[in-house]
Amino acid sequence: MAWVDTVLQGLMLGGLYALFATGLSLIFGVMRVVNLAHGDLSILAAFVAVVVVEALGLNPLLALLLVVPLMAALGFVLQVVILNRLLGRGILPPILVTFGFSIIIQNALLETFSADSRRLNPGGIETASLSLGSGLAVGWFPFITLAAAVLILVGLQLVISRTSVGRAFRATSDDHETAELMGIDNRRLYGLAMALSLGIVAVAGVFLGIRTTFAFSSGPDRLLFAFEAVIIGGLGSLWGTLVGGAVLGIAQTVGAKLSPGWGILTGHLVFLAVLLLRPQGLFTRGRRIS
C-alpha cells in the first residue's frame, strides 16, 4: 500500500511538472525556439504573487486572477518587442537572449526580494488531505494541482484543435512563410503563443510557491524538470507532456522512497533511459505539435 501511495504522490507531483513543461512545449511547437528563461519566469510569477498577496491580502490562489493576466501581458510584450527581432537568424540568438533574460531576472529578483526563501500561504489547504479509504490519502493541494494541469492541458488542446488561432498556430509551425501568405501575422501570433505560455507558467509558479519554498535562484531547476518532462513525453505533444510530467514525478518520489537522496537522481536516470531507448519521446506521433 505504501508503494501505491508513493506512486500516487509522484503522479500529483507530475501534474506540477506538466504545468511547467506545457508552456515550454507550446513555444517550441509554434516557434521552434527554446525559452531558457522559462523557469525564471515561473519564479518571477511566484514573486509577483507574493507582492499581490501582501498588498491586497488575497489568498494566493485568488491572486492568480491578477498574476496570470500580468504574466501573459509580459509574455506578449517580451515577444513582440524583443524576441521577434531575432526571427530568421538561426537557433542561436533566441537561446542566447533567453539565457540573458534568465540571468537578468534572477539578479533583479535578488536585488528586489533578497536571497531569502519565500513561500505562499493559501490558508490551510496545503496541509488538508482527502482520504481514499484503505489507509490511502492524498493532499488536497497536490490533487488540485494535478486537476489544474489536466484542465489547462484539455483547454489548450481544445484551443489548438478547434479554434482559428489554434489552426494558425499549427499552420505557422508547419510553414511560417505560407502562413504569412494566408494572412496570418506571425509576429502577433508568436506574441499570443508567448502570452499563453507565460500565463500557464504563472499558474505553475504560484502552485510551486504554495507547495514548497522558493528563492530568486529556483528557476533553472524548474527549467530542467520541464525539459525532462517534455523530452520524456515527446516534443510538441501536449498529452505526452502530461505523461512525461507524471513519469518524472513518479520516478522522483519512488527514488526518494528507496533512499531519501535518490529522488532527483532517479528522475534524471529515467530521463536518460528514455533519451537512449526512445529519443523521440513516448508520445510523438508522425507530426509535431498538438
Binding site: R167, R170, A171, D174, D175, E177, L181, M182, G183, I184
Partner: protein, 232 residues
C-alpha cells in the same frame, strides 16, 4: 483604370538582381498571364506583388495605394491572395482546416466552404484527411480552394501545372476559367504556355528578369512568343 499596377519593379536576392524594371498591370476582372522559361523571374514578380519580398512601396500599386514590400498578411486582408508554387499544403492540418486557414482574415465575399466544396467535390469527400494525403492534382485543388477562401480581389497563381499530368492541368484551368468569369482578377504564372494563353486577356513574357514581350494573346503570333520566351 488598373486595379493592380507594377511599376519599374526591381528585386534582389542578396546581391543577385532577379528583376530589372518590370512593369505590368491588370484591370479589374482581367486575367493576366506571366510566362517565361525557368528562372526568368515569374515567381519573383508574384512574390513581390504578394508582399513577400522587400521592394519599394511605389513598385506595387493596388487599388490606388502603394503596397510594395508588404507585409504579406496585410495584403491578404486587402484582397491580394497567393496560391504558392508547389502548393505548400499545411501537413498538420486536415483538408478542411487547410481551407479554413485561407479564411483566416475573414474577408467578406462570395466564397465559403460550401462553395469551394461545390467547385471541388473531391475535397468535400476527403475533408477530414490530412491535406498532404491527397494526390498532386487534388493538393493543387486544395491550394486553389484555400486561396479562394480568402475572397481575393486579385488571385495570384504560381505554376499550377508543376508536376501534374496534362489532363489534370486542363481540368484545373477549367476551374480557374469558371472562377475568373465571376469577376475575380487573376495573375497566372506558368511555364506551360498552351493552356494559359487561352485564358488570359493580357500576356507578359519574361526573360532574364525583364519583360521581353507584352500584348493580347490574339495579337501575338507563336513565332513572336517563342522569340520572346527563348530569346532566339
Amino acid at each position: 483604370m488598373s486595379l493592380l499596377r507594377v511599376r519599374s519593379l526591381s528585386a534582389f536576392y542578396g546581391s543577385f538582381q532577379a528583376l530589372f524594371d518590370v512593369s505590368l498591370e491588370a484591370d479589374e476582372g482581367e486575367t493576366v498571364a506571366v510566362i517565361g522559361a525557368n528562372g526568368a523571374g515569374k515567381s519573383t514578380v508574384l512574390r513581390a506583388i504578394a508582399g513577400a519580398l522587400p521592394v519599394t512601396p511605389a513598385a506595387v500599386e493596388f487599388d490606388g495605394r502603394r503596397v510594395g514590400g508588404g507585409p504579406a498578411h496585410e495584403l491578404v486582408a486587402r484582397g491580394i491572395v497567393m496560391v504558392p508554387e508547389g502548393r505548400r499544403i499545411f501537413p498538420s492540418l486536415s483538408v478542411e482546416e487547410n481551407l479554413r486557414v485561407g479564411a483566416y482574415r475573414g474577408r467578406p465575399g462570395p466564397w465559403s466552404l460550401a462553395r469551394v466544396y461545390d467547385l471541388f467535390p473531391v475535397l468535400a469527400a476527403r475533408r477530414g484527411q490530412p491535406g498532404t494525403n491527397l494526390s498532386g492534382g487534388e493538393q493543387q485543388m486544395l491550394a486553389i480552394g484555400r486561396g479562394l477562401m480568402a475572397n481575393p480581389r486579385v488571385l495570384l497563381v504560381d505554376e499550377i501545372s508543376l508536376g501534374l499530368a496534362p489532363l489534370v492541368v486542363r481540368a484545373l484551368y477549367q476551374v480557374l476559367r469558371a472562377v475568373t468569369r465571376e469577376g475575380t482578377t487573376a495573375i497566372l504564372v506558368d511555364q506551360d504556355v498552351s493552356e494559359i494563353m487561352q485564358l488570359a486577356q493580357r500576356v507578359y513574357c519574361l526573360r532574364k528578369g525583364a519583360v521581353s514581350l507584352e500584348g493580347r494573346p490574339a495579337d501575338l503570333t507563336r513565332h513572336r512568343i517563342a522569340a520572346a520566351y527563348f530569346g532566339v
